[in-house]
């Protein structure tokens, strides 16, 4: 009997202890280091937002209504090699307030970096993806509205809007005249030409580093190749390929270090 008096409470305690879920062990890990790429869309020196009029470099009124593009294989350069930190991101100006940047965030190891590189558009494997296989919020999902046809894959850059066909026209921009630059096709996949925009930086353990870039619409339209007026205002790459190529060549050179 005495034995049982001890045994019963012990048994109860053992059952209670073992039938409950165990608390997980608390493991404290240091915060990872991270980087945020801010890309500030601008028209010249003005912050750029959709559905707002701007006077472009040639004094034509222009109103972008849609602007989205893919950045792929965002890579950090080091003395010993390269580290890809984001395979694909879709950046869009929709919902962006004036002065707000487009952002790409990624966790990175602490260390010294000698620069960055990235590509505009999708590589041939990404471009051959089936958008139906991706969840809605994935950059390559059909829901992003960037997939075109099975022949040409995705649209790499989509820039649409209205413009005046004459310079120095008074009044609001005529929304009956529109431009539409849709670049795609594997042959228009290009690395962004950053030049002085690719600068060395260091990131400490647990630190967040911010890399600021400007993206200037004027440079995309009036860069090394002047595409704004003389080649028509519409390309889907499969049509008016030269315009698509010229726009692409300008676009990849439209990034610079940000001067807020």
């Amino acid at each position: 009997m005495r034995y049982l008096r001890l045994l019963v409470p012990m048994l109860v305690w053992v059952i209670m202890a073992s039938s409950c879920e165990k608390d997980p062990e608390l493991i404290i890990e240091p915060d990872p280091s991270s980087i945020t790429f801010n890309i500030y869309p601008k028209v010249g020196n003005q912050p750029m937002v959709l559905n707002q009029e701007y006077l472009d470099e040639d004094s034509y009124r222009i109103m972008p209504t849609l602007f989205r593009f893919y950045v792929s294989h965002l890579t950090l350069l080091t003395d010993s090699g390269e580290l890809e930190i984001k395979d694909v991101a879709l950046l869009s100006l929709e919902g962006l307030a004036s002065g707000e940047p487009l952002t790409i965030e990624a966790a990175i190891p602490a260390g010294n970096y000698t620069g960055v590189r990235f590509w505009i558009g999708l590589d041939s494997a990404q471009n051959a993806s089936d958008p139906a296989t991706y969840a809605q919020d994935h950059p390559l999902s059909a829901f992003q509205g960037t997939f075109w046809t099975w022949n040409s894959g995705y649209r790499f850059v989509m820039l649409e809007g209205y413009y005046d066909t004459l310079a120095n026209t008074p009044g609001p921009v005529a929304t009956t005249s529109f431009f539409n630059y849709h670049t795609g096709l594997n042959t228009l996949y290009r690395e962004a030409v950053l030049g002085a925009a690719s600068v060395p930086f260091s990131v400490g353990e647990g630190d967040s580093y911010t890399y600021n870039l400007d993206l200037d619409l004027n440079r995309a339209l009036y860069g090394s190749r002047d595409i704004s007026r003389n080649m028509g205002a519409i390309t889907h790459s499969t049509s008016n390929y030269q315009l698509a190529e010229d726009f692409t060549e300008n676009f990849i050179r439209a990034f610079s270090l940000s001067n807020p």
Partner: protein
């Protein structure tokens, strides 16, 4: 000692039951004082395999009980001001949950402002109504109920009617675990949304063809080529591509709304029906409307937001030669507006329509899961 033989297992049992964090709900659910049971069972919507993965809102998980309640509310005129008009009165299954009237009639005999939209594959939409003013289907479901041109009811009164009903209080409890006094219009909206989310249409001839279970005819194939060709009918810019994915409507939230040049206005402020612009207030959105799915066109006439075209032939004629280069004309998809449209030949028009008819899902309009539960 003998007594201990019984006491010991009893103590052990009590210890097991009381030792852990309490789980009041077991597999039989929660029963209230009225004897009603709240034990919702997850409802799985069958998504056709050529459709993209569907993400249902986490704020309104589909349950068998919720879907069934929503189906009853959808078909029950109880939600209208005079209890004569149900949602299904203007969203008829035989019309792919659209209305064959140009403009539907509300309980006061007044016409609605726009043609009733068909209802299917709504999980792929993120904005509802022709003008996109609702961003949540459960929110959308509440609006026509109070619209003076439609069901012209008052939600607080509807809640009283539902609370006093002989069956609904129990059904609300079974679906949401709410006592009668706690029923809200949000519960009704969620139930209606759950039912509408189940309205999936993906069993057309085209679906069979893309999944390898059927073939298109030569004429239908020619129509498909026109559909996806920029130099043909150029439909794909707004209606998506038939890579088995886009369900023939533009899915990207920003691209769901377009101005297709139905009317001719020199400036955006001239639009009488401002469409998306009414919801956003953005001038460049004036005259934009939701791009509708091209599925089930055989059932959804008349066409366009105002039902101005009685037949598909009229629609194709419009896109061929009737497009206006109007203010806010869509910059992404209406590039042939400058010449009035895509200029199809008579044969091309026939081919295109033949293809569009392959998007007809006959099973959908007779599917008993979606039919009137009171019949």
């Amino acid at each position: 000692m003998k007594a201990l033989r019984y006491i010991l297992p009893l103590i052990v049992l009590v210890a097991i039951m009381s030792g852990c964090g309490k789980e009041p709900d077991d597999d039989d659910g929660t029963k209230n004082d009225r004897g009603w049971v709240y034990n919702p069972q997850a409802y799985t919507v069958e998504i056709p395999r050529n459709f993209p993965p569907a993400t249902f809102p986490a704020s309104n998980p589909l349950t068998t009980q919720g879907v069934q309640l929503g189906r009853m509310l959808f078909y029950d005129p109880i939600l209208s001001g005079d209890s004569t008009l149900a949602c299904a009165g203007c969203h008829k299954q035989e019309n792919a949950f659209s209305d064959n009237r140009i403009l539907s009639l509300g309980i006061d005999g007044l016409q609605g402002k726009r043609h009733a939209m068909p209802l299917f594959n709504l999980v792929y939409s993120s904005r509802f109504f022709w003008d996109g003013r609702a961003t949540d289907l459960a929110e959308q479901a509440l609006i026509p109920v109070e619209d003076p041109l439609e069901m012209h009811a008052y939600w607080p009164e509807n809640i009283i009617k539902l609370q006093a009903h002989k069956d609904y209080p129990k059904f609300f409890y079974e679906a949401f675990g709410v006592e009668p006094e706690d029923i809200t219009k949000e519960h009704a909206g969620k139930a209606l949304a759950q039912f509408m989310f189940t309205l999936v249409s993906g069993r057309s001839k085209f679906d069979e063809a893309v999944t390898g279970f059927g073939e298109l005819t030569d004429q239908e194939r020619r129509g498909l080529e026109l559909f996806i060709s920029q130099d043909g009918a150029d439909c794909f810019h707004c209606h998506g591509t038939p890579n088995g994915n886009q369900v023939f409507q533009e899915l990207s939230p920003s691209l769901q709304f377009r101005n297709n040049g139905l009317d001719s206005f020199a400036t955006a402020v001239e639009y009488v029906d401002k469409g998306l612009g009414e919801a956003t207030g953005i001038v460049t959105d004036f005259g934009k409307f939701k791009v509708p799915s091209l599925r089930n066109l055989a059932f959804t006439a008349p066409y366009m937001h105002d039902g101005r075209f009685a037949t598909l032939e009229e629609v194709v004629d419009f896109y061929s030669t009737g497009v206006h280069q109007t203010a806010n004309i869509d910059a992404g998809g209406m590039e042939f507006a400058f010449q009035g449209g895509v200029q199809l030949t008579p044969q091309e028009k026939l081919d295109l329509i033949a293809f569009l008819m392959t998007l007809t899902d006959n099973e959908f309009v007779t599917d008993p899961r979606f039919s009137d539960p009171f019949k």
